[in-house]
């Protein structure tokens, strides 16, 4: 932008705003409000004393429920009895959804058109924000839960001395990007999986798995003889149209015939590049070869689906109807292109020749997955674009496409009748949980809910998905918790509840002895009226007194997600940075400018309470129990600048002594790297490896010094005599490998016996575990030795304060 224009903007902004002045009236109103606050302050200390007395009577208080019933709309076409919202006296909402499914596709479509008519008001089924008074019982009460034995998810191999994936719940496996069975090493790199044999002196690349449809391998599971990939992207053909009229036949699993591709392989082919075809260009042509397929209405046959072919004649703006049809007509050449998330099961009895055994894919984006009890649970979200819908919308436009090679080669649709209607779900999404028995050929079981998901927590008997919930009455953000039971057939939706506040990640929740615990941060909009419950009001007052209007809570819910106990007002004004539940204790770290570590006693589900608190600078984003009453925290070191902003200044690894819950202590901490450094484990717990036998932890980190890049490094830390020490920082960049443009997201450090394997995103490096000498670097793409940096960079180690060509250190990953 040249000087003149810069000046124009400044002039314009200042000119436009110069007439904005504070009037006498505004000044007076503001000063009056502040004065009112001054008076309020004096009464606050008295309320604090009162609340201490109240806490002892918490049990009695919790028994009082306020039933809130409102008049509302009965959706006759959907056949849904709207739920009752029960408000616990301490603010957790229990939503008892009638276990209702859509009666037919038309019912689902009607619901979506209503959403569209509301024009962006996201409350599905909220109408005027009111509900009927009918009480609906949980119709799944008779479902039996399947008890499953814990399963070893990694192959034993010869000897057990190698890194396993760091999972949240024992017996429930999570996907990872780098895993080993003690000899063979599997690495997800650049959308493919490389298979490496580490048996010899140097590692050798044996084979590679790439997807033929252009998709990429996101992460995977390693089981005895089986490699299970989770895939995203890919060019997949979905169901074009169902029978004209739009309804999917009930009981037929919604299957519509799809004409096999003329050019051979389904899902592949020359038009791989065309993921989002421009439907404006040409009306989809009817099949040019082959016989007429009965029962399939191609886009050009039905007048309603014809895109605005006359737009060019008009030569001007399209009407709204035409625009909508264009948005809707994703069908091209008789097929629909859909984005699928997939599961591929490979037989790796011979690692040099992986053989695909089964493929399952479902339309939507990946939320997460787990393996437990011999089955894989895949959770995905599909967004429904109600804007693009009209009366003529076909079932195939809305229902979820899926494909299961155990059933057949065709793509099918999840029928509307199998979708559970969850009125509290406020988004236009279909959330699916697919249960896949990967060792057999049993068809996948798909449970779908009209709602969306953001976080997944699973143990061996229950699966919980949480999503954002918006309380329009009080203008607050909450969390909707949906509970599914693990059953003989798969999962079945059980119940849901809403708590006020937002959860950070999967570690914010936990189930123990049948009770579900969740820690949340509640953002309070100032001006919210006092509830009359003294304790809550104190928490609100204290939160508003800080500048960030937040407070933090721990809720305890029972097996039906009914409120059992609650702790609120933790660290008002601060936000939760990390949580770790461990049996009867919960550790919560909050932060504004200093980081308190709270020890929460959960032994009494009806009365969670804070036992001890430790205040230190910096914050931990991941907490890991390392035995002996010690907790390792991985996070950031911080300082407050003169403008009052807290800024990070390096990776901080702390060791906490929590043997005495009333008095947690910090044993010591180490700081690694300078400003701009971050450890992958702060955001992804699977990057952390803990070798309990040697009391050693490993992780990878992006290291910078005042934002000057110093390498994606492997860090080895050891806990000895109540102190955490940095054993070694392994830095391939120093040796000439890697690139400053790699941010470290896909990297990992593991051990196999007496060797360390570091994947830094660009190559696999082998180090001796005792001497930490670099032994070899494997090129994962070509096999063989990796040659030092192919990026033509200056390999001289940069001086402190040196800025490299003005390159920013925002995340830029360069792939070839």
């Amino acid at each position: 932008m040249n000087k003149e224009r810069n000046h124009e903007i400044t002039k314009g902004l200042r000119g436009a705003l110069q007439s904005v002045r504070v009037s006498e009236d505004l000044k007076k109103r503001t000063v009056d409000r502040v004065m009112a606050l001054k008076k309020g302050e004096r009464s606050r200390s008295r309320m604090a004393a009162f609340a201490a007395g109240l806490a002892r009577h918490r049990r009695a208080a919790a028994a009082v429920l306020a039933l809130v019933l409102c008049g509302g709309v009965l959706w006759s076409s959907v056949g849904v009895l709207a739920p009752v919202i029960l408000e616990g006296s301490e603010g957790a909402l229990q939503v008892r959804a009638g276990l209702r499914r859509f009666e037919s596709f038309d019912a689902l479509k009607a619901q979506l058109l209503k959403l569209k008519a509301m024009g962006g008001k996201h409350a599905a089924g909220f109408a005027n924000g009111s509900w009927t008074a009918d009480v609906a019982e949980n119709a799944l009460g008779s479902q039996k839960s399947r008890t499953v034995a814990p399963e070893q998810s990694t192959a034993g191999g010869a000897g057990d001395d190698y890194a396993k994936t760091n999972v949240q719940v024992q017996g429930v496996d999570e996907a990872d990007i780098m895993r080993t069975d003690g000899r063979y090493l599997y690495i997800a790199s650049k959308g493919r999986v490389a298979v490496v044999d580490t048996g010899g002196d140097v590692p050798v690349k044996l084979s590679e798995i790439a997807l033929e449809d252009g998709g990429s391998i996101h992460e995977f599971y390693l089981l005895e003889d089986r490699l299970i990939l989770i895939t995203t992207g890919g060019n997949v053909r979905g169901v074009a149209r169902t029978e004209s009229g739009g309804a999917a036949k009930p009981g037929s699993a919604g299957k519509a015939e799809v004409r096999p591709s003329q050019d051979g392989e389904a899902g592949g082919g020359s038009d791989g590049a065309d993921m989002a075809p421009d439907a404006r260009a040409v009306p989809p042509a009817p099949p040019s070869k082959g016989e007429d397929e009965p029962g399939i209405a191609y886009a050009s046959d039905t007048p309603a689906a014809e895109p605005g072919g006359n737009a060019s004649d008009i030569g001007g703006e399209l009407t709204e109807e035409e625009q909508r049809k264009l948005a809707q007509a994703k069908v091209y050449d008789g097929y629909r292109y859909v984005q699928m998330t997939g599961v591929r099961v490979y037989d790796i009895s011979d690692p040099s020749k992986p053989v695909e055994r089964r493929e399952f894919s479902i339309e939507g984006s990946l939320l997460s997955s787990r393996i437990t009890g011999g089955r894989l649970y895949l959770v995905t979200n599909k967004y429904l674009d109600s804007y693009a819908m009209g009366e003529d919308t076909d079932a195939a436009d809305i229902l979820t496409n899926y494909k299961d090679t155990a059933v057949g080669e065709d793509t099918c649709l999840v029928p509307a009748e199998s979708i559970t209607y969850l009125p509290a779900g406020q988004t236009q999404n279909l959330l699916s949980v697919a249960t896949i028995d990967y060792m057999s050929d049993a068809a996948a079981n798909i449970e779908t809910v009209f709602g969306s998901g953001y976080i997944l927590y699973m143990n061996q008997t229950s699966l919980y998905v949480t999503s954002a919930y918006y309380d329009e009455k009080n203008y607050e953000s909450g969390t909707l918790i949906m509970k599914f039971d693990v059953t003989k057939d798969g999962v079945a939706y059980r119940c849901s509840a809403v708590v006020m506040g937002t959860a950070l990640n999967q570690f914010s929740m936990d189930e123990h002895n049948g009770y579900f615990r969740i820690a949340v941060t509640r953002d309070i909009v100032s001006g919210v009226k006092p509830t009359g419950a003294a304790e809550i009001d104190i928490a609100i007052d204290r939160a508003i007194a800080s500048s960030s209007n937040t407070e933090n809570r721990v809720y305890v819910l029972d097996k039906d997600l009914k409120l059992t106990g609650k702790l609120s007002g933790i660290a008002p004004g601060e936000r939760i940075k990390s949580v770790r539940f461990s049996g009867d204790v919960g550790y919560v770290v909050t932060f504004v400018q200093t980081d308190p570590l709270f020890v929460i006693d959960l032994s009494d589900p009806s009365a969670p309470k804070v036992r001890g608190e430790l205040k230190i600078p910096g914050f931990s984003q991941y907490l890991h129990p390392v035995g002996d009453g010690l907790l390792l925290g991985i996070g950031q070191d911080t300082e407050v600048n003169e403008y009052g902003a807290a800024v990070t200044k390096g990776i901080k690894i702390s060791l906490f002594d929590v043997k005495n819950p009333d008095n947690p202590k910090e044993c010591n901490y180490i700081v690694i790297g300078g400003k701009g450094s971050s450890a992958v484990a702060e955001y992804d717990h699977r990057n952390f490896v803990w070798d309990a036998g040697r009391k050693t932890g490993m992780m990878t980190a992006y290291i910078a010094d005042n934002y000057n890049y110093r390498g994606v490094q492997g860090l080895v830390v050891r806990v000895e005599e109540s102190a955490v020490l940095l054993e070694k920082a392994l830095n391939p960049y120093e040796l000439g490998y890697g690139s400053q443009y790699y941010y470290g997201g896909y990297s990992k450090l593991i051990y196999i016996g007496d060797r360390l394997f570091l994947y830094d995103g660009t190559g696999l490096h082998v180090y001796d575990r005792k001497t930490y000498t670099h032994k070899y670097a494997l090129d994962l793409e070509k096999g063989g030795a990796l040659s030092p940096s192919a990026y033509g960079e200056d390999k001289v180690y940069p001086e402190k304060g040196d800025v490299r060509n003005g390159a920013t250190t925002e995340s830029i990953a360069i792939y070839d």
Binding site: L13, L26, R33
Partner: protein, 184 residues
Amino acid sequence: MKGHLRQNQDPADIEALILSCGDDILRICTVYLKDRDAAEDAFQEVFLKVFQSRARFEGRSDIKTWLIRIAINTCKDMLRSSWRRHTVPMDDVGAQSASAYLIEDDVLERQEHRRVLEAVQELPAIYKDVVILYYYYGYAFGEISKILGMREASVRSRMFRAKALLRQRLYREETDSCEQRAQP
């Protein structure tokens, strides 16, 4: 009126603060919240917060920059919360905001200024921060990075993006498709 005078101001003396910084704070609120009523609500929230968190102001910096930070955060919180959605639809807002503070001066110049203001108001919140501090207040990148608590590199890249958006909006310049997709 920078310098020692304001640094010695008592954060508890709200009236004095309004006299010395009030106009600028109200202007920030106007850029974020557009319509007058909402801006004035935000204005009050800001000074309430200033009063409530006065203990946190240690006098190490100019009190005005501390106020600016609180104002920016308050405005962004208000934009996030729902009741904002019930207010006036976007189209009318530019006109309303200008006319609410109408004073008679050169019509053409006023229109031009309003065009600039509207362009800035249309920017996503993260770009508004740096644009206001840079163009209206004239702070340098280093100062902006400290006020907002972010890296200077981030400030630069946001200014780069913001300028591209403003160029497109104000001068109808062609931008390449990358930047167009960058617009939320």
